[in-house]
């Protein structure tokens, strides 16, 4: 996005760009804090950064949520130092899958999904994406299918937890005077 000024090329940032940057930064922070926590079983992580993605999806729509989610994976991996590592590929694949599944989910007629539904869908899609990548790229062995039910159970549980937190977050956002919050962030 160039300005009309010929002398100086400057990037014009829209309100939405700023918002994406803010929210992505928030998600990245959660992502990094979470990466410091030890995981009991490889591949199972609460995915608390998804709380932000879901809240953003509900409040600002799919496009903003997609930006926040993908930026979170890219920036998060650069900061942790896992950029382009196998873990990064799994993370990116999972994020892309969950974003792709959320798109049709938003078209549901009626009241549609709430935070918990979106969160479960995202978590399950994330796990399926990761699993497919792990199977095709890293461990092409039948035996890992035995892990699939356990991994999906974990994904659903954490999906419910993240969705509930998202719900609380959205309620809290409603309670605060949202207009002043937006003004102060500019």
């Amino acid at each position: 996005m160039h300005s009309d000024n010929n002398d100086i090329i400057e990037l014009e940032t829209s309100r939405n760009d700023m918002r994406i940057a803010w929210l992505a930064a928030l998600a990245v922070t959660i992502h990094i804090v979470e990466s410091a926590l030890p995981s009991p079983i490889p591949g199972i992580k609460p995915g608390l950064a998804n709380v932000i993605t879901i809240a953003v999806l509900i409040r600002y729509g799919w496009a903003t949520a997609a930006w926040v989610s993908i930026l979170r994976v890219l920036v998060g991996s650069l900061l942790i130092g896992t950029f382009l590592s196998p873990g990064f590929l799994l993370s990116l694949g999972g994020a892309i899958c969950s974003i792709l599944i959320l798109k049709p989910a938003t078209y549901l007629p009626g009241k549609g999904f709430g935070p918990v539904g979106y969160s479960i869908l995202a978590a399950v899609a994330h796990m399926c994406g990761q699993f497919t990548i792990a199977y095709t790229l890293f461990i092409p062995h039948q035996a890992i299918f035995n892990l699939l039910p356990i991994l999906l159970t974990a994904a659903i549980l954490f999906g419910i937890i993240c969705g509930t937190i998202s719900n609380r977050l959205l309620q809290a956002c409603d309670k605060t005077n949202y207009e002043t919050l937006e003004k102060s962030s500019q």
């Binding site: 709430g114 479960i120 719900n167 309620q171």
Partner: protein, 125 residues
């Protein structure tokens, strides 16, 4: 703008009930796949893959990277009896008998896997 966010919408509840039904089905369908263990596939860095029948009692000597690994087939089960490695994790893994079970001796670069086949002959899904 104050919209009320209910914890669960109708769609959420439908999704949750799908999960309640689907997840046990998934466990059942994946964990109850009845593969009959019928042969044993041994891999070594020297010789590549070798296949043995699981119903023939025998002792197999495999040349690995550092020496000999001795495997024993007995009663439809197989184990590492000895291997030229230091920590003997492969020996301590003990007997394996189920299809898909896998034991490796990494230092000696020898691994074994029980391969199975479906109880059915010509049904695929």
């Amino acid at each position: 703008m104050s919209k009320k966010y209910n914890l669960l919408t109708t769609a959420d509840k439908m999704l949750l009930s799908c999960i309640v039904v689907g997840l046990p089905l998934l466990y059942f369908s994946i964990w109850s796949q009845d593969l009959q263990a019928d042969s044993i596939k041994i891999w070594s860095s020297n010789k590549g893959y070798q296949t043995f029948a699981l119903d023939q009692e025998q002792e197999i000597r495999i040349e690995g990277a550092n020496g000999v690994s001795i495997l024993e087939i007995h009663d439809g089960k197989i184990r590492f009896v000895d291997s030229s490695c230091t920590n003997k994790l492969c020996v301590r893994a003990g007997w394996i008998s189920r299809a898909g079970a896998f034991v490796a001796c990494l230092p000696n670069e020898v691994s074994m896997e029980i391969t199975g086949r479906n109880g059915y002959d010509s049904i695929n899904f």
